[in-house]
């Protein structure tokens, strides 16, 4: 009881004092034939003090705090979903509850297989919330040598954000999304001006802060034209 009260007091103070933020990393290594590997990493280690504190509470800002078991269960759901997806193999996951870093990786046969993972989920979302998100996230034209990261901004993103409580909005202040796409061929050009082409010209990195993304100021949409080396 005593320990609980002390811990609670300490936690609440920590929660007030320390910021929370997270980074999402999307990586794709694309082969010439359109197959490849994908890795999604959620890195919340910058907020680990706060998260460790939050995890000890039952709820915060009116939301139930998920336990480690809940997170494991959610990751297992993702794994099960991937296993059911056509053309997706070699599925792996890593979880680090010390640093709050979680990742899921898989091999895909084609870009269509990759799109297949989320197509149904996006369709459902569009139907439920009347949004107009594209149901495929990626495209690859092997002949034209063009890889595309699709995205259409929908006003519902900002609307959902506005609906959040002030305290919850703070979570997104320092969050970011980073996309790294690697290719076997060299990159000729990219459509997104924020994207940086690697010195080796075989990779491109695009980093967008969460607030710019939410407000529609910056986009993760990108078209990468590769040099046709044959």
């Amino acid at each position: 009881m005593l320990k609980k009260s002390l811990t609670y007091l300490f936690l609440v103070t920590l929660l007030v004092l320390n910021s929370s933020c997270f980074d999402i990393l999307e990586e794709i290594n694309l082969k010439k034939d359109g197959s490849g590997t994908m890795l999604i990493t959620v890195n919340m280690s910058k907020s680990k003090t706060k998260l460790a504190s939050i995890m000890l509470l039952d709820s915060i800002n009116g939301y139930k705090v998920p336990s480690e078991d809940d997170i494991e269960l959610a990751l297992n759901d993702v794994m099960a979903h991937l296993k059911k997806s056509k053309g997706i193999t070699n599925i792996k996951q890593t979880k680090d509850f010390e640093n709050y870093i979680f990742s899921v990786s898989c091999d895909f046969e084609s870009i269509e297989s990759l799109n297949g993972i989320t197509a149904h989920l996006i369709q459902e979302q569009n139907k439920r919330e009347s949004t107009k998100f594209e149901t495929s996230n990626f495209a690859y034209n092997a002949t034209e040598k063009v890889f595309e990261r699709k995205f259409t901004y929908d006003a519902s993103i900002k609307k959902s954000f506005d609906y959040l409580k002030k305290e919850d909005k703070k979570v997104f202040q320092d969050a970011s999304f980073t996309a790294i796409y690697r290719f076997e061929d060299q990159i000729e050009e990219t459509s997104n001006t924020i994207a940086k082409i690697a010195p080796s010209k075989k990779a491109v990195m695009l980093r967008v802060d969460a607030m710019s993304f939410i407000l529609g100021e910056k986009t993760i949409k990108n078209k990468v034209k590769l040099i046709n080396s044959k």
Partner: protein, 660 residues
């Protein structure tokens, strides 16, 4: 000249006599009275000052909107702000009458407050009124006073939405016997589940009714779809039409009952308001000694007086809840709340706002509670506080022995309903609780327990300090392949110290020894160190010294206490608060605001940090030990001496700043 003076004196006297306080209209048996003393408030902040504040302007804008431009300022309302404003609650035959009494210099402008056509204003002799036809609320006024009476009938035996109407277990006569059974089972199950839920949602009658109806119907539909005989349509059947007609009949009856009850409530509320406005009760609240005592010197800006909790509890319980299933049947409310009154006073002084609280209980309850609060205070505690760095504290000064001795008696009193109740179950619970508490008393060694934890404890939030923490980031090569790297950043963490008196050094050391043997605790430099874990994200240090157990997050702080080198500093006021109060709570606003890093403030407040630093002072909350049969509490919020003419003006300025 003399005549002029005589005339002025007579005039002032006449005005003084005319301007009688509205309190005389409050009946002496009112359960709750709230007073806002206009004159006292106006001495601190004039109506003009309030009107020119942002809040005042906001209200004026609202008035302008509501009256469609007929009135533009607060002054236009015609309030007599120098008189007292009242709210009181009176319970009469199970009806709660919530009455607001508002003094006016002139009520001519009131009509403009009701611009809507549906607000039908009735003129009746010297009074005018508007009454809501749905809930009976009355706004009534004469030349100088306006009353708003909000009735709440606790006797309602009708229910607004009649969910029981749909709790009809009649089974549609479908051809297939199996289907009938399935339907019966399903309907029963759903209805039972739903009724359970309905019973928990007292207020949400309509939602619940729809829920029962929809869910039952849905299951029937589903089951019928599975039935091989597809030609049968229950909704066209005679049975359905008959059930529907009965439901409609019940609905109309219910509507009629509601209508009659509401009409009766409207009539009584209107009569109640008229009686109040036109006359005065034979015995007013001014003749109630408890109320008079609660008014004190009369220099407060607002007071709240709550009389006889037991009566309020009883009146608040709807009659339909009374009976064998009423949980309150098992509690002795008279004993628990009889004679309990609470008085709250709000006083805005020059450099502080004070909220006082007096809590009076029956002699029996006072006798039971008193030993709990008779704790001895460990004066050594005062040597471990440094007010210069202190962010806040909470001290508890109770008696473990007193609590353990009083607790069984209190539980027994709580369930001792045998004298007032004929309910067998209540008698059984009373006998069982008495046996359990007796057993508890016999098994517990109160004296021994108090050696482990005497009952005086102090929790200090001693400091905020910067601490380096690591996190994982990435470094990329020329192909944007990355490797994880560990980086560091600074976080602000609070330091705390918790101390309590205990004579059981051996027990403490044995507990720690187990921790050491289990490698959970380390014994370093004469103190125990519990390293942070996933479940406790901070290091904890503990030690025993001078009959006191210390648990804290700062090694330095504990080392200094151990070596006797800790420098304490504490004002006389806080020394008195901690040592004399049963419970004391303190927040050093200035220290906290100045030490919190600016990033931790919400973005919208960051530009106002300087204002907050200069204008945040201490908050003290203290609860006394029981004296006689009363306990007093006090909340004191210090306000800055500079920049604000008094503490009320300070709040207005603060609101103005935050509204910017």
């Amino acid at each position: 000249m003399k005549n002029v003076y005589t005339f002025i004196f007579t005039l002032v006297l006449a005005v003084a006599v005319q301007a009688q306080d509205l309190a005389k209209k409050i009946p002496s048996n009112a359960n709750v009275v709230v007073t806002i003393k206009g004159r006292n408030v106006m001495e601190l902040l004039s109506l003009r000052e309030f009107s020119s504040s942002r809040l005042g302007q906001q209200i004026a804008k609202e008035i302008d909107r509501e009256t469609k431009g007929e009135m533009a300022t607060i002054e236009d309302l015609g309030l007599n702000v120098n008189e007292n404003f009242y709210y009181f609650l009176e319970t009469k035959e199970g009806v709660f009458y919530n009455t607001f009494m508002i003094p006016f210099s002139d009520t001519d402008n009131i009509l403009k407050l009701f611009p809507r056509e549906r607000d039908k204003i009735v003129e009746d002799g010297t009074v005018s009124y508007v009454q809501d036809s749905y809930d009976g609320i009355v706004a009534m006024w004469n030349k100088t006073t306006m009353l708003v009476v909000i009735p709440s009938d606790q006797n309602e035996d009708y229910n607004d939405y009649g969910y029981f109407d749909y709790n009809d277990h009649s089974v549609p006569p479908v051809a297939d016997e199996v289907a009938v059974e399935v339907v019966e089972e399903a309907v029963e199950q759903v209805s039972e589940d739903a009724i359970d839920r309905v019973e928990t949602i007292e207020e949400g009658g309509q939602v619940a009714a729809e829920f029962v109806y929809d869910e039952t119907t849905e299951v029937i539909e589903e089951v019928i779809e599975e039935t091989p005989d597809t030609t049968y349509d229950y909704y066209q059947s005679d049975a359905y039409k008959k059930a529907e007609a009965e439901r409609e009949k019940r609905r109309l009856e219910r509507e009629a009952r509601r209508e009659t009850a509401m009409k009766a409530l409207q009539t009584t509320t209107l009569a109640y308001a008229k009686q109040l406005l036109n006359g005065a009760p034979s015995k007013s609240i001014l003749q109630n000694s408890g109320y008079k005592k609660s008014m004190g010197k009369g220099d407060d800006e607002a007071t709240v007086w709550v009389n006889d909790f037991a009566q309020i509890y009883k009146s608040a319980l709807p009659k339909r809840l009374l009976g064998p299933t009423n949980p309150y049947e098992f509690l002795n409310l008279d004993e628990l709340y009889g004679g309990m009154t609470i008085t709250g006073r709000l006083n805005f002084e020059k450099e502080q706002a004070v909220m006082g609280l007096d809590y009076t209980m029956s002699d029996k309850m006072a006798k039971a509670y008193k030993p709990m609060y008779e704790g001895k205070f460990n004066k050594n505690f005062l040597g471990y506080i440094n007010e210069d760095r202190l962010l806040g504290y909470m001290s508890v000064n109770l008696s473990t022995k007193g609590i353990l001795e009083a607790y069984p008696e209190l539980v027994e009193t709580m369930f001792d309903t045998k004298a007032t109740n004929t309910n067998d179950k209540a008698a059984t619970i009373a006998a069982a609780s008495s046996s359990v508490t007796r057993l508890f008393s016999l098994l517990i060694d109160e004296e021994g327990a108090s050696k482990i934890l005497r009952g005086d404890m102090l929790l200090l939030l001693t400091d905020l300090r910067e601490k380096e923490v690591t996190y994982t980031d990435y470094e990329y090569d020329e192909d944007y392949n990355y490797k994880e790297v560990e980086k560091t950043k600074t976080e602000t963490v609070p330091d705390f110290l918790f101390l309590f008196t205990s004579e059981e050094e051996k027990l403490f050391r044995n507990f720690m020894k187990i921790g050491v043997l289990e490698n959970k605790v380390a014994f370093e430099n004469g103190m125990y160190h519990i390293s942070k874990t996933r479940s406790t994200p901070f290091d904890i240090y503990a030690m025993y010294k001078d009959n006191t157990i210390f648990i804290g997050s700062s090694e330095t702080h504990l080392t200094q206490i151990k070596n006797g080198t800790y420098r304490s500093k504490l004002s006389g006021q806080l020394k008195k608060d901690i040592s004399k109060s049963a419970t004391s709570f303190y927040i050093n606003g200035k220290n906290i605001v100045s030490k919190i890093p600016s990033e931790a403030f919400p973005r919208e407040l960051r530009s106002n940090i300087d204002f907050l630093t200069n204008n945040t002072e201490d908050l003290r909350v203290n609860f006394s030990k029981i004296k006689g049969n009363a306990m007093t509490g006090e909340l004191v919020l210090k306000t800055p001496a500079q920049g604000h003419k008094n503490s009320l003006a300070y709040f207005m300025n603060l609101i103005d700043k935050l509204m910017e």
